[in-house]
């Protein structure tokens, strides 16, 4: 029935009328210009410039040099290992994350809210701390320093992406279709594969692509848990750029990263582009017998989260040979023998400020872009343009923070954009990573809003902005809250770019933790762990609070 609507003459006429309106054209132009300018200035330009230095050392393309880098057995091995590792980690994360996404978005049970927030905790924990927590657990077992240890940690870090992205879609999936199929005699597996998974396709693809990109650019996890034994494209770019200044080889690997992202986007765009049925928010219900596997998987995820976090809490309460809150009380100080320039509490304030600014930028850009991308203009070239914009926003997830950071240094160095020393770059860099996540959460939901509803509103005389406000944002309100929480935590935990850009006087908490744990003496490591626990608790609190604000979007219709 929906397909009839899509091709109906009414829709065509509505769209052409909509497209012709000068105010609409102006709004579209502005809406496109904003994300394009942001990604262009703060990502494409710096990255292109640093790649140019590596690939065109004398002004001409260094073909022989590039061929030499690509023919090194080490290069081939590293590319293969990176893609394989990221693919395996993505598969495991999806396998574990899907049941958890279902349980946490559709079922009603005690502790659901806390668990929903808790899955985000790994995002904000500094890799160095999680690495130490995992290594302390694994020490003495064959897991220590193995690929499996790296995989487990990657899953730990990324499970939230699946739970949040897929959960946001699952939450508003009409369960009546499944119920009808069940009544007609389809088994649960068949119902899941033929109905649920098909309808969730776009958000599963979105989650998978984000997880893959995060895994393929993981840095600390790979180094610490692999005992520096395994090199990925990301660790190699770091080594080549920061230690060897071999920009040629680093550029070749950065280009490889870009190609991987593009290939991934082409694959997932096919799935993502499929429209899904119309959705709204549906009430959660108590678990039934058929939900046992999902509840079981969710419990497994919860346990997998709790064990390393529990180890951290335990370590934070360890003072000397006894127990106490000494490490937490010390957070108001600058560490034993003045290890820090500012106290961890001050750093926490900096972290919150930066993360709030980054979330603001990411939500603005993400909302504008998602609303744009949810429209399918008639002209194929306009559609292709929108797809390009969608892809361009994803690129920062797949490109090394080192490449972007060094690019900043040689581009944003002259007026009017002499920003190298400005703290404003911190939230901007964080927003570069958070914006694509916001889009991936919002877009599947916005795309599912029936164009019928928008058209009806337009026919009844609603201005385009009003259609967006009442219909798009009405339906996507819940997803927008989920996206805000995700963006905030990603910004709060962002380390690669932040450590590159922040100054000692306005350091963020992860940066301070990193410094503390790098100093000898019992008090400093204990303080670092205590600060990590604070970061974790705060994340749960902030995310739970954001979710409390939820609007009853279903009531609008």
């Amino acid at each position: 029935m929906r397909d009839n609507w899509r091709s109906s003459g009414l829709r065509e006429r509505q769209l052409s009328r909509l497209n012709a309106h000068p105010a609409t054209i102006a709004a579209w132009t502005l809406g496109i210009a904003l994300p394009v300018a942001f990604v262009g200035v703060f990502f494409a330009w710096p990255v292109a410039t640093i790649l140019g230095r590596g690939l065109f050392p004398t002004g001409a393309l260094d073909v022989a040099g590039i061929a030499e880098v690509l023919s090194r057995p080490r290069t081939i091995r590293i590319i293969g290992f990176t893609v394989g590792l990221a693919a395996a980690a993505t598969a495991i994360t999806l396998l574990l994350g899907m049941p958890a996404a279902y349980a946490l978005s559709r079922l009603k049970f005690r502790g659901r809210g806390v668990l929903r927030a808790a899955v985000l905790v790994p995002f904000v924990l500094p890799t160095v701390v999680v690495g130490i927590a995992f290594r302390t657990l694994f020490r003495g077992t064959p897991l220590d320093g193995s690929v499996l240890a790296i995989l487990l940690a990657l899953v730990f870090f990324n499970i939230a992406v699946v739970v949040r992205t897929v959960g946001a879609s699952w939450e508003s999936l009409d369960p009546r279709q499944e119920e009808a199929a069940r009544v007609l005699g389809a088994g649960p597996v068949r119902v899941f594969v033929t109905i649920t998974l098909r309808r969730l396709g776009p958000s599963v693809a979105a989650a998978a692509s984000i997880v893959f990109l995060f895994c393929s650019t993981a840095f600390g996890t790979v180094l610490v848990l692999g005992g520096a034994r395994y090199s990925t494209i990301e660790t190699e770019i770091w080594l080549l750029t920061t230690q060897f200044l071999d920009l040629r080889a680093a550029s070749v690997l950065s280009i490889t990263q870009l190609l991987v992202v593009v290939a991934l986007l082409v694959v997932t765009a096919r799935v993502r582009g499929r429209t899904t049925s119309q959705r709204r928010s549906f009430a959660t219900r108590r678990p039934r017998r058929a939900d046992v596997p999902a509840v079981f998987a969710t419990s497994a995820v919860a346990v997998a989260l709790v064990i390393p976090l529990g180890a951290l809490v335990q370590r934070s309460l360890q003072v000397g040979d006894g127990w106490g809150f000494g490490n937490f009380l010390a957070l108001a100080s600058t560490g034993s023998r003045n290890a820090l320039t500012i106290s961890p509490w001050t750093a926490l304030g900096n972290s919150l400020g930066f993360a709030a600014a980054a979330t603001g930028i990411a939500m603005l850009l993400g909302l504008v872009t998602s609303v744009l991308l949810s429209r399918r203009p008639r002209s194929p070239s306009a559609r292709r343009g929108l797809d390009l914009l969608d892809g361009a926003l994803m690129l920062p997830l797949g490109v090394s923070a080192v490449t972007v950071g060094f690019g900043f240094l040689i581009t944003l160095n002259a007026p009017p954009l002499d920003l190298r020393a400005s703290p404003i770059l911190v939230p901007i860099a964080q927003a570069l990573v958070a914006t694509p996540l916001v889009v991936r959460v919002l877009l599947p939901v916005l795309r599912s809003v029936g164009s019928r509803m928008r058209e009806a509103a337009a026919t009844l005389g609603a201005a385009p902005w009003r259609v967006i406000l009442t219909i798009d944002l009405g339906v996507a309100a819940r997803a927008a809250l989920a996206a805000t929480g995700l963006a905030f935590t990603v910004a709060l935990g962002e380390f690669g770019a932040t450590t590159f850009l922040s100054r000692p006087s306005n350091a963020t908490l992860p940066v301070v933790i990193y410094r503390l744990i790098g100093l000898p003496g019992g008090d400093n490591a204990g303080m670092a762990i205590a600060a990590s626990v604070v970061l974790a608790v705060l994340t749960v609190a902030v995310v739970a609070l954001i979710e409390r604000l939820r609007v009853d979007s279903a009531g609008a219709f």
Binding site: V128, G131, I132, R135, T136, R139, L223, V224, G226, G227, A228, R229, T241, T242, Q243, F244, L245, D246, G320, S336, R337, N338, T341, F354, A356, A357, G360, I361, M363, L364, F406, L409, I410, N413, P415, P416, D418, L419, R420, A421, S422, P423, I424, V426, P427, I428, F500, R503, P504, S505, N506, R515, I517, G518, L519, P520, G521, G522, D523, A525
Partner: protein
């Protein structure tokens, strides 16, 4: 410290705000000079130390951290055409010749450097004309005294001892390709066994079950058995300055120590960045970093020894911190020329 505090604009209009900040920062010609001091990440001084420089000279100092020593030098080389700042501190002897050959420094060495600091000066041609020594630290194998006392095994003394089967499975080191003490330890073995001998030494070390971690914090916190650590290996590559920090409040005996025959000496330098708009002021800041005011403040903040013989060491340091009398060393130019090759060879042996 007089850091100019830019407020973070927590609104979505960050871009617009950026423009405003820029307009607001347009330099006035007669304004007092502000110097940017570009440092490595470990830079720290007590509150108020840099203020003394401002009080004496009217020059304000802003600190910009730029990664570890290698990253710092590479950033300076990359930004040669639009320098990151006026003065750099934190270039060490392993990266000095890259900074010099990259042309990122003005020729200047503080006139206050005396003959007593001769051992820290770089050879002419490898940075001697450009860099003023500020501090130095020894990367040495640290030993957990208690562990060895309990086990009834004599403590090892030299690099040779570490490949003795007596010490099998007891040592944890950092990887040379991801950690700067890890690289320093590799350089110590290269200095000790020569260009063709160190590979054999590392093969024996691996056969003796050395554990290789990615970072210092990982090796020290997770695998080392010392009092503030959780691990079970009583030997770790760390700094000669680490033991004082393990002495409990009011303690008289250090529970850990440094094996002084296993050390590689890292010296850190300051210099004037080529292209600075304020060369005269920048030179004053280099002199200040070498003055007793900063030098006295260095040990407790940066865990390294000041080079200035007039500096006074803190009490705990005077009591518990030891220095190698004859540390391993390599020519900075040789390090820079071979770094990539050595690390690749090391990785093939140590992390197959």
């Amino acid at each position: 410290m007089h850091h100019s505090t830019h407020r973070v604009v927590s609104s979505a209009a960050a871009l617009a705000a950026a423009t405003l900040v820029l307009v607001g920062c347009a330099p006035a010609s007669d304004a007092p000079v502000t110097l940017t001091l570009v440092t490595h990440d470990s830079f720290a001084l007590s509150e108020g130390t840099l203020d003394q420089f401002t009080k004496a000279t009217g020059i304000t100092v802003e600190v910009q951290a730029a990664g570890d020593a290698g990253e710092l030098v590479n950033k300076l080389v990359l930004t040669k055409d639009s320098p990151l700042g006026d003065v750099v501190y934190g270039i060490d002897n392993t990266f000095a010749s890259r900074a010099v050959s990259g042309g990122v420094l003005e020729p200047y060495v503080s006139a206050d450097v005396t003959d007593a600091e001769g051992q820290y000066l770089l050879p002419l041609g490898s940075g001697g004309e450009y860099l003023t020594p500020i501090d130095s630290g020894d990367v040495c194998v640290n030993v957990d005294h208690e562990w060895f006392a309990q086990a009834g095994i004599p403590e090892p003394k030299s690099l040779d001892d570490l490949i003795d089967p007596t010490y099998q499975g007891l040592l944890v080191v950092e990887a040379a390709n991801s950690s700067s003490p890890g690289l320093a330890f590799l350089l110590a073995t290269i200095a000790a066994y020569g260009d063709t001998g160190w590979q054999g030494y590392w093969t024996s070390l691996v056969a003796n079950d050395v554990k290789i971690d990615a970072s210092w914090s990982d090796a020290y916190n997770v695998d080392f058995s010392g009092p503030s650590s959780d691990g079970d290996r009583p030997l770790v590559v760390s700094y000669a300055s680490s033991p004082p920090f393990e002495v409990p409040e009011g303690g008289t005996v250090a529970p850990t120590g440094a094996l002084l025959d296993t050390c590689f000496r890292q010296t850190e330098y300051a210099g004037v960045i080529a292209g600075t708009a304020h060369p005269a002021e920048a030179k004053k800041l280099v002199d200040f970093l070498h003055s007793p005011t900063v030098q006295n403040d260095i040990p407790d903040n940066m865990y390294v020894f000041p080079v200035n013989p007039d500096a006074v060491l803190p009490e705990a340091w005077a009591k518990f911190a030891e220095r190698a009398t004859d540390p391993y060393n390599l020519d900075p130019a040789q390090i820079d020329a071979n770094r990539e090759k050595w690390i690749a060879e090391w990785a093939a042996i140590a992390t197959p």
